[in-house]
């Protein structure tokens, strides 16, 4: 059943186009793939000459809410997970994205844009794991 009250097809499509533009721009201007986990992970493996652009990209991400707020009201998120769950989930996301060489942006957006079979396998795998996890939490445990 489709959740029509929360479904935002046009805003999500438009936001997706902006994300695609950011990824294309980054590839063409900087020659880099806009994979967030790789960009952030690289900051934790310090290498000379490889840090400034990573920091700059992350600062851009962090500044996005402030810039967005100039034009409109920032949409308040609903974060259902409690602190212990957030700790566990963050840890899994950190280890998993680095071990699997990518996340929703690197494999999902950039990898699929390159029609990379490797990224397709990664995307199908983390989507399947996400579906199974939410099914377990929402429909089996509770």
């Amino acid at each position: 059943m489709i959740d029509w009250t929360h479904f935002t097809p046009w805003a999500s499509l438009a936001g997706g186009v902006l994300i695609g533009m950011a990824a294309a721009m980054f590839l063409l201007l900087n020659g880099r793939v806009a994979g967030i986990s790789g960009i952030v992970g690289g900051l934790l493996r310090p290498a000379a000459g490889d840090m400034a652009w990573r920091f700059a990209f992350v600062i851009g991400l962090l500044a996005a809410p402030a810039v967005y707020a100039l034009a409109g009201r920032y949409p308040a998120p609903t974060i259902d997970a409690g602190y212990p769950l957030l700790l566990a989930a963050g840890f899994l996301v950190g280890i998993g994205t680095r071990y699997g060489s990518g996340c929703t942006s690197g494999h999902g957006v950039c990898g699929l844009s390159r029609l990379s079979p490797r990224s397709l396998v990664a995307t199908l795998t983390f989507m399947a794991a996400g579906f199974a996890t939410v099914f377990t939490v929402r429909h089996i445990i509770s």
């Binding site: 059943m1 489709i2 929360h6 935002t8 805003a11 999500s12 438009a14 936001g15 997706g16 186009v17 902006l18 994300i19 695609g20 533009m21 950011a22 990824a23 721009m25 980054f26 590839l27 063409l28 201007l29 900087n30 020659g31 880099r32 952030v40 992970g41 934790l44 400034a52 652009w53 700059a56 851009g60 991400l61 500044a63 996005a64 809410p65 402030a66 949409p75 974060i79 997970a81 957030l86 700790l87 566990a88 989930a89 996301v93 950190g94 998993g96 680095r98 071990y99 929703t104 942006s105 950039c110 029609l115 079979p117 990664a122 995307t123 795998t125 399947a128 794991a129 996400g130 939410v134």
Partner: protein, 148 residues
């Protein structure tokens, strides 16, 4: 110049995430909840991003250097191995538990939400542990860092 390009790309990426609704974990979990009230929004984000992304790659493939100068670094790994699948599985479980992936977590952290800060800190800890492990045992010790 490279830092300005990176800042602009990060900013636009973050604004795209906000506009798309993906900085709200309840929307992400709403997409992952196939058996409940399903919110297909995330699929629309992916379609919009990938269509534009394909155009970007078509242009990038014809060029030998980026517009700001320097090589275009595209991932060279092709192998579908245990690391790729196990890593993606762990990521997917964490993603489903909290509804955050790295980009939206950083943007929400930037918006000042405590819960996003806790998630981000845990994520950085996981990434740092991975680096420490790789430096000691991993085959990536001799592999150049790849951006993803």
């Amino acid at each position: 110049m490279h830092s300005i390009g990176a800042f602009a790309a990060g900013l636009l990426f973050g604004i795209g995430l906000i506009v798309s609704g993906m900085t709200d974990p309840s929307k992400v979990v709403g997409f992952l909840d196939l058996a409940g009230n399903w919110d297909p929004s995330l699929a629309f984000v992916m379609v919009g991003a990938i269509l534009v992304g394909i155009a970007g790659h078509v242009v990038a493939r014809r060029r030998t250097a980026s517009f700001l100068g320097g090589a275009i670094h595209l991932p060279t790994a092709r192998q579908i191995d245990r690391r790729l699948v196990l890593g993606s599985l762990a990521f997917g479980v964490g993603w489903g538990l909290a509804g955050f992936c790295p980009g939206p977590a950083l943007v929400s952290f930037g918006a000042g939400y405590d819960k996003a800060a806790v998630f981000t800190l845990a994520m950085l800890t996981g990434m740092a542990l991975f680096e420490a492990f790789e430096a000691s045992f991993g085959r990536a010790a001799g592999r150049p860092g790849r951006g993803r």
